[in-house]
Every structure is written in structure tokens, then in C-alpha cells.
Amino acid sequence: MNDAWDDEDRAIARALDVPDDGGAVDERALGDYRVVLGSLPFEEVTPPGPLEEQVVAAALARRPAATSALDHARAQRRSRLRAVSLGAVGVAAAIIVAVLVTTHDGSSPRPNGRITSVAVSRPDIDALLHEPGTRTGTFDHGPGTAVLARNGRGNIYGLDPSAVVGISLETTQGQTASLGSVLPADGAIAFSVNRPERVTAVRLTKPDGTLLARATLLGD
């Protein structure tokens, strides 16, 4: 029996939430032991119904949503109404609508994008910077640089890691496309966009939409 602690002992102790000697831990082992313990048998119990609303309200009080469930519900309702309308007007009208939608999508000036990660390493950023056709821009207020490659992958780095920021993209048509708000881990954010050639600048905003800084993308 040895009372000394090694990495494995600490990983086990931390997974069990028992005190250890405070030394370094093997993070991979800790992850495995958490999966092990999360797999042990216990009775799953449905929580009281009102708890979901309490949880969501408490969460949104700490960090406002960029996209609300109401937005999703409205989008779904619009989608359902559109389907009903299409059914009512018949196949011919549906074809016309489909053609219109297709045409609209094909010429839409507003790219669609999303935040893909807040865990961006320096080699990831360097790789993007070295891709042919990558454009970059420095934010006009505060720290940070935006990078956007031809394939639609983008990084924003050098940001204040302690503040939630909203990200939006300016387009050639003067419109903006919001990607949402996020707390950048280590000051970096990765995003992707479907029409990078139409993105002219990246905006940082407060979560309420107030503009903080803007970076014009140059170098194409």
C-alpha cells in the first residue's frame, strides 16, 4: 500500500471528487474515469416539469441567447404554413415557388455562417494565414485580427478572452449576417461561412448588438 500520489491516483480522485494532493493530473485518464463513472448504474429520474423553464430562465439571465427558442418556433411555423400553402395551390404553383426559391437562394447576397469552435490553436491560425487567397483584417478598436480563407473557414484571434462578443459579417451588398455570440477561449474563435467571397468585413459586437469594432478584410 503506497500513500504517495501519482497522475493516475489524482485522475481517479478528481473524477470521484475526493481530495488529492493537488499535483498534476493526467487529463486523458481523468476524461476516461469520468466516462467510467458516468456509466455506472443509477436510476434516471425525470425532473419535475417546471424545472426546464426555471433552468432556461436562470441560464439566460447569466448569458442572453443569440438565437431564442421562439425564433426556432416561428421558423418552424413559417415552414409549416409554407408547406400547407404549397399543398393548397397545387403542383403548378409549387413548381413556380420552387423555382423562385431556387433563384433567390442562388443570388442571395447574404452568406450564411456559424461559429464552429472556440478552441483554436496557433498552428490552425497559421495554416489558414498561409492558404492562397486568405484575407485578413485588423479590428479598428481594441485588439484582434480576422482571417478568412477562400474555402470559407475563418478565425478571429487576439481577442479579450474574458468578454462575450457577438460576431457578424458584412457583405458586398452592405448587409450583415450574424453568427451569434460567444466567449472566445484563449481569445480565439473559428467560424465558417458559405460564400466567403461576398464577405467584406467582420464586426465584433456586444451581445446586445452594439458595435465594438470592425475589421475590413484585405489581401485577396
Partner: protein, 187 residues
Amino acid sequence: MPASAHDRELTAQLLAGDEAALRAAYREHASAVFGLAMRILSNTALAEETTQDVFVRLWERPDRFDAERGTLRAFLLAIAHGRAVERVRAEASMRRRHESALRQPVVPANDDPAGGLIVRDVQDAVRRALVELPDDQRRPIEMAYYEGLSYRDVAAALSEPEGTVKYRIRAGMQKMRAALQAVEVSP
């Protein structure tokens, strides 16, 4: 064990501030989180508070979830366990709770909130490994995990030296980890 593509997608949506993703995560994992909290705390109000803490924390800092180091379920249950154990240790009536918990049978989970075959395989493998552990390894693990006892408390309850308890817990946990890794490498 890396997370599933579904976990990664859900986390990306949480990072983007999508309320629907928070609700989806809650609906997938709240039963497990609340169940574990109830198992440890034996108190509905405290289990509700713990469940709320877990999902508020997920919403505030989704970046803390590392998809390379485990599943979202394991991440949430680890938070739930930590919060529940904090509460257990803060309770003056801890001993009474432990005695109550000791009387509770271990009941297998009756559904699979993560929904994936891999997750079910992992659970089956780990649970089989737990059952196959000798009593002197399984019991201290259960006492530490389900009852929130420190190694010292487990040692006192079992009248064993603390070092012996630590060694037996390690041996048992390593066997269950080996079972987990066997699932990961099998086709």
C-alpha cells in the same frame, strides 16, 4: 473516449448562444443529471438546484466541454457529481443521508439518453466490469461515488487503512477503464 458528432454539434450551437440547443441538452440529459443528484442527495429540492447549476454552467461556459476527452453526458454528470458531493459534505446530517443511501438498491438506468450504440456498449461494458469487481474494490468505489465520501471517510466506514482503500479503488477503477478502452478499440 471522444464525444459523438451529435455532442459536438450541440456544443457548437451552445457556443453560438442558441437557446434551442440548451433545451435540447436539457431534454437529453436532465433525467441522468437529476437521477444522479437524487441518488447522492436523496432530496428533491437539492437535486433540482444541482440540476439547474449543471445546465446553467453548461450554458455559461460550453467551451469547458472538451469533446476529445469524453462525452457530453459524462461531462454533465461530472459537474452534477461535484455539485452534489459539495452539498452532501456541507450537510450536518451527512451521516443520516449515507445510511439512507446505503439502503437504496442500485437500479440500472432504464433508458439511454445519449441514444448511441457506442454509449450503450460503454455502459454495458463498464457495468459488467463493476459487477465482476471483488466486493472489496466495488464497495469503496460505490461509497465514494454515490455517497460522496472521501477516502478517509470510506476507510473509517469500512475499518480499513486509508491507503488500502485508495489502492483498492484504484485497482477497481483501472479494471473499469480497461473495459471502456476495450470498447473503444473494438470494431
